[in-house]
Assembly symmetry: D2
Homo-oligomer: 141 residues x 4
């Protein structure tokens, strides 16, 4: 059994993403998942901005996040994404959110795990099929 | 078998909460769940701001959201929350996000369902027990 | 010289609006200004959602905020808005953000003052004239 | 007369930053200014996270933004910041927000100009003096 190929992206925690508990506000992890997801789609050759111009909108149908350790302001974050499942009208992505030690002395620390299922919609918000070439690109076969 | 008592709060969708798909950005539903959750805690006599002053922080440990229909700018939203489970160190809340017909002609429409499990932390972010009176208030016994 | 008529709206500070300094993140005051501005437009008979359906978009051309005292989580906020100036293609709004004492013992405390100038755009993001009835409604003559 | 030295940072527009007008929501430019400002402070040898640990908080006292052209989803943004003025208790930053042509064929396009004045606070939110070495670092003399 092989691991699915992943795409990852590094960025720094913004001050605006913290809350008064002194850590990143929990809803922002879904934003980070999306950054990783759109980067994955881009690298598979189908930039999401281009998909929307073609009338293919991917709307989040469900989302699950498990929080393991808090991210803090100025942390260097690595958002990792992969495709878990592709069907005719939906695609499921998996995510890991990690904290990177910039000095390179420690291994990345797992902050959160997440999964989102997206459903394809047309420009009028009606369910539609994913085009075959997009399915192929997402399967990365 | 009885339904748990719920607390609900109505508010209008803000323009800042929409995205370019013309609907509310999916991560904002977690913000709405939190508004309903803190209102529930307030009405049970333990305002969350007061809990933090006592060194009791409730951090989201996991969250699940299912999106049924999109909320749009200026919609009147009803966020409904209830306690699903209380343990010595965690409390699980359930949520329904509804759209209200302001004219009163149609029944509320279900937009999303969600669940979050929160873990009690002390001021140094270490797990701690929920105080007995808070457990009692959350159980609403 | 008379004061312009104002519209105000009360709401509670959300946890998501705080940052790790323990106060409301400064950019959120622009969100609150917008809530007051759209409420003013609604009460003058021209809901902003309806304007957009008619192809009239009001885009912020410049914004100035002065911060006098910080808002905190769970504070009850009053956002006050009024029209400062209406021209053929732009409208300038003024704002005061206040903290309300829910017990009613103290007068409202001024937290911020702001001003935004909005420019009318059509559906293709080109400048356009404000319709006469909208100008009239905004002038509240 | 010489231009002040600037610091700039490039990043991509997030989907969460757009609104239903199809462009970046105006309050987010203040977030981008902050990213550039904290990067400037970091490169001058005084990471803001470290300043807060030393009990030096920089709170925004006033902010002005002029919007020239809209940023859109997936645009590559360059946020440029410089120090305009340093006094014993305040520091004023200037900003330019640009859109970068990733192909390198066109010059950067100016999207917004901004200015924020920050006031130094201690851990109890009382005004305090900026430490001499921080003043020196900000002046970049």
């Amino acid at each position: 059994m092989t691991e699915p190929p992943t795409v990852s992206l590094d960025f720094r925690v913004r001050y605006s993403e913290t809350d008064q508990m002194g850590v990143v506000y929990h809803a922002n992890y879904l934003v980070w998942c999306e950054i990783a997801r759109t980067e994955l789609i881009r690298r598979r050759g189908a930039p999401y901005a281009e998909l929307e111009r073609q009338g293919i909108f991917l709307a989040v149908a469900d989302a699950t996040v498990r929080y393991h350790a808090p991210a803090r302001y100025d942390d260097m974050i690595r958002a990792v994404s992969w495709v878990e499942d592709v069907r005719s009208r939906t695609v499921t992505f998996g995510y890991r959110i990690l904290r990177i030690d910039e000095a390179g002395a420690a291994p990345p620390e797992r902050l959160a795990s997440a999964q989102t299922r997206l459903i394809a919609l047309d420009g009028d918000s009606r369910p539609r099929r994913l085009p075959p070439d997009l399915i192929h690109a997402l399967q990365n076969a």
